[in-house]
Each structure stands twice: as structure tokens, then as C-alpha cells.
């Protein structure tokens, strides 16, 4: 070894190192091992750095994407806004359908509970062209047996009465109309008085004396005296009471959501009705009181209305 020049020394070193590695390979093949210990050390040493690197690169990439590479973001944002708008519209449609299904289910339930009372569900298809009158049009008419002076209700309460019937449609005077009214009474005190419209959302109870005890929040129900609607159907709730001359000034908030009607029930009879007790907490009957509050249509029919062809 003494006489080996330095250049040859490196050559010897090369040979030795290569031979060692060949042996290493041979050992691995012979033992079918892969130098696990060395790998574990190396990987253990490298993986924390790689993890840190991955974390750093993730941060850098996030920063790049969120703050710098925004060229496509505006377009993507527009697309998302458009999609969001469409989805909102779809949600609104679905909610509307869901609400409609709920309403129809309530109507169906009411109808099933009052199986002996002839009635038909009709859809509101229009309203009056005159802003001063509260009138709606339904999609059912004479062909379905709807006639003038039939009561129109919802499960929540009285809506109005049919004032005109056509072949496939009918016109309904809402309870809020100035010319509308229903025979009613205060639920707990049984004080009777017609309730009529004022051309505004609230109704009025007209002939309650100043000596009678009336409180805000009292429920007003049908009295049945108009002989159109069954007794004890909700008309509304007293929302305001003022002393007047000669009668109290009483305002009643309708039980039915008269301003947002979509489906209603038309009672297909002009006979006096008697709904199942406790059946519809919200049944209601529309009478047609006169402007003075007196029932206009004191119907005395004893047989159900005939269906018109």
C-alpha cells in the first residue's frame, strides 16, 4: 500500500466502495431484505422536513390561489353568483310547492273530516280589477255545482261568499270588502253581532253595546244565524276595542289569510251546515251581510245545491 500513488489510491478506493455496495446488494438479495434499518433512519430524518415542506408549500399555494392567482376567480365568482341565483330561484319554487302541498294537505284533511259536508277545493285564479272591491275569482264554477251565496272558507277561517257563478269560474266577495259580512259572536261571552269588512285588512264588529265586556284577543266565531255557515267557525280575533256611540268600535283581525289566498274551500250547499264539533278549529263560513251588517243571504234551503251541468 505504501507504493500506491494517490491517483491509484482513489481508483482502489473506488473499487473498494463499489465492491462493498455490490456485496450490500448481494446481501439484500440473499436475505431478501431491503436494508430496512438504514431506510428507517433516512426516512425518519427526511419526513419531518418533507412534512414541513408540504405545510409550507400548502401555505404558499393557498396564498397564491387566494391572493395572487385570481384571474379566473372573477369569472368563477360570476358563475357561482349565477348558479346561486338559479339555486335560490329553485329553492323558492320548491318552497312554494312545499307550502302549496301543506295548504292542500290541510284542505284535504279538513274535507275528510267533514266528509258529509259537500265541498270542493278551488284555486284562486284572479282578483278584482277594481282596487276598491275585495273580490277574487276561483277556477271552479257552475259545472262543479258552485252557485251564488255559497260559503267560501279555508281551514283557518271564513273567507267570503260566492256572489256570481259562471260555467268554469266563480266570483267570491271577500270578507274584507265593504259590502261583506258574516253572522258572528264573541266566543267566550257569546255576544252576537255581525262582522263586516271595511275595505281594509281588518274587519269590524258593529253592534256591540258599550256595556258589553269585550277584550282584545277575544276570538270571534260564526254564530250560524246567517244560516249559511256552521256555528263556531273562526272569523277572527279582536285586535282593538274603543268605546263609541252608541256601539263600541271593535276591530277584528281575520283568521283566514285573506290577503294571500291561493286555495279555498267552497261549501257546495246553501243548507244550514253543522260541522263536526271540534273538527276544524279553523273552519269558517262566509255570510253575505249587508253593508249595515245584517246578513244579506239568509238562506233557508233545505237541500243541497244541485250541480249544474
Amino acid at each position: 500500500m505504501v507504493g500506491i500513488p494517490s491517483r491509484h489510491r482513489s481508483l482502489f478506493l473506488l473499487t473498494g466502495v463499489v465492491l462493498l455496495q455490490v456485496l450490500l446488494l448481494a446481501v439484500q438479495i440473499k436475505r431478501d431484505s431491503q436494508g430496512r434499518l438504514i431506510r428507517v433512519w433516512t426516512v425518519s430524518a427526511v419526513s419531518p422536513v418533507e412534512r414541513s415542506g408540504a405545510w409550507g408549500i400548502g401555505k404558499i399555494r393557498d396564498a397564491w390561489r387566494h391572493y395572487f392567482a385570481l384571474s379566473d376567480t372573477a369569472r368563477a365568482n360570476e358563475d357561482l353568483r349565477r348558479e346561486n341565483g338559479q339555486l335560490k330561484l329553485e329553492i323558492m319554487q320548491l318552497q312554494s310547492k312545499s307550502a302549496e302541498a301543506d295548504r292542500l294537505a290541510a284542505l284535504l284533511n279538513f274535507k275528510q273530516m267533514q266528509a258529509k259536508v259537500p265541498m270542493i277545493v278551488a284555486r284562486v285564479i284572479g282578483s278584482s280589477a277594481d282596487a276598491n272591491s275585495a273580490v277574487i275569482y276561483l277556477d271552479q264554477g257552475l259545472r262543479e255545482g258552485i252557485h251564488k251565496n255559497m260559503g267560501v272558507i279555508t281551514p283557518e277561517g271564513v273567507v267570503g261568499k260566492v256572489i256570481e257563478s259562471f260555467r268554469d269560474t266563480c266570483q267570491v266577495l271577500l270578507l274584507t270588502d265593504r259590502d261583506s259580512g258574516v253572522g258572528a259572536m264573541i266566543s267566550h261571552s257569546r255576544i252576537q253581532s255581525p262582522v263586516g269588512g271595511l275595505g281594509e285588512p281588518l274587519l269590524t264588529m258593529k253592534y256591540v253595546g258599550n256595556d258589553d265586556e269585550v277584550n282584545v284577543g277575544d276570538r270571534v266565531v260564526t254564530s250560524g244565524m246567517d244560516r249559511i255557515f256552521p256555528k263556531d267557525l273562526p272569523v277572527g280575533t279582536i285586535s282593538q276595542v274603543k268605546p263609541g256611540s252608541p256601539f263600541k268600535q271593535i276591530r277584528v283581525r281575520p283568521s283566514a289569510n285573506i290577503e294571500k289566498l291561493e286555495e279555498v274551500i267552497v261549501l257546495l250547499t246553501t243548507d244550514p251546515l253543522a260541522l263536526k264539533p271540534g273538527a276544524p278549529p279553523n273552519g269558517s263560513a262566509a255570510t253575505a251581510p249587508s253593508a249595515s251588517g245584517q246578513p244579506v243571504s239568509r238562506l233557508t234551503n233545505t237541500k243541497p245545491a244541485e250541480k249544474h251541468p
Binding site: P5, R7, R9, S10, L11, L13, L14, V17, V18, Q21, V22, L24, L25, A26, Q28, I29, Q34, G35, I38, R39, W41, T42, V43, V46, V49, E50, G53, A54, I57
Partner: protein, 174 residues
């Protein structure tokens, strides 16, 4: 002896570059990290062989065959341990490349980019040849000597090497 003497005389005209403390070690580790890390995010980056480029560069710069081959051995074995190849496959190949680069660097001026490109290209080809040879002879894993991918890899690594060497030149001691 005369030949040896003459060669040593001629080697004395070639400058041996030294680096700041820890540069070689850190560069080696960084190259290995990148080699294992980069393809995760840039799959195409797996055609790069950064440990080989580091071996070549420091071999050419230090111009000491013993140091060069030992550095190649270390880098190769670490590369093996970070991959699924048996320990020694890249170790042998990079040992030889480290030796060759150091030996050639001791005789030639390797500072010109074209020379660096040509040398890297050649070393890359030799490296791949050794890897394939070891796989064939020792591991009984027949591999093709040449593929298009290998050619592209050879070219890309050579181009990258020129820029990388220029960057690493900044860490030399003046």
C-alpha cells in the same frame, strides 16, 4: 511514474474550488428532499435527478476523486434509502459518476456552460447505463438501455444542470 508526475503537474494548473462550510451537506440534503418532494406536486418533475446533478457538480468543482466518489456513494445510498430500490443501486452508479466527474474535473476546464452541458449529458447517460447494468447483472431486472423518456430526461437534466451549476457557483469561496 513519469506519467503520473506529468498528470499531477497538469492538475496543478486547474483551480480547486472550495465552498462555505456546510454548503455541500446542505445542498445534498436539499437536493434529496426536492427529489422526493417535488414529484408530489409536479409529477413531471420525476424525470429530474437532482442528486446526480449535485454529485456531478461537486465532483467537477472539488476535483478530488476520493472525495467525489465518497460523496457520490453517500448521495446514492441516501437516494436508494428514499426510494424502493435496493441499497447500492444508485450508490454504485453515483460512486462511479463522482469518481469520473472528479477525475475529469481535475483535467479539464469545466466552467464553460457548454462544457458543463456536454459533461452532464455524458454523465447522465453513463449513470443510466450503470443503473441498467447493475439491474441486469445483479438484480436480474432487465431494463431497456434506452427509451425516449430517458433521452428527454437526459436532455432536461443537462439543461437544468447548467443553470443549477451557475447558481451553486455563488456558494464558492472566492
Amino acid at each position: 511514474m513519469n506519467d503520473t508526475f506529468d498528470l499531477r503537474i497538469s492538475e496543478s494548473h486547474i483551480e480547486v474550488h472550495k465552498f462555505h462550510g456546510g454548503t455541500i451537506l446542505l445542498t445534498m440534503i436539499f437536493a434529496l428532499m426536492l427529489q422526493a418532494f417535488l414529484p408530489v406536486y409536479i409529477p413531471k418533475a420525476n424525470i429530474l435527478d437532482l442528486p446526480l446533478l449535485i454529485t456531478i457538480y461537486f465532483g467537477l468543482s472539488r476535483r478530488n476523486p476520493s472525495t467525489g466518489l465518497l460523496l457520490g456513494t453517500l448521495i446514492g445510498l441516501l437516494q436508494d434509502s428514499l426510494s424502493k430500490t435496493p441499497l447500492g443501486l444508485f450508490g454504485i452508479a453515483k460512486t462511479v459518476i463522482g469518481y469520473l466527474a472528479s477525475s475529469i474535473g481535475a483535467r479539464l476546464d469545466t466552467e464553460h456552460p457548454l462544457a458543463r452541458f456536454a459533461l452532464t449529458f455524458s454523465f447522465f447517460a453513463v449513470h443510466q447505463g450503470i443503473v441498467v447494468l447493475v439491474q441486469k447483472l445483479l438484480l436480474a431486472q432487465p431494463q431497456p438501455w434506452f427509451t425516449m423518456r430517458l433521452g428527454i430526461s437526459c436532455l432536461v437534466n443537462s439543461i437544468l444542470g447548467v443553470f443549477l451549476y451557475y447558481l451553486l457557483d455563488r456558494f464558492r469561496k472566492s
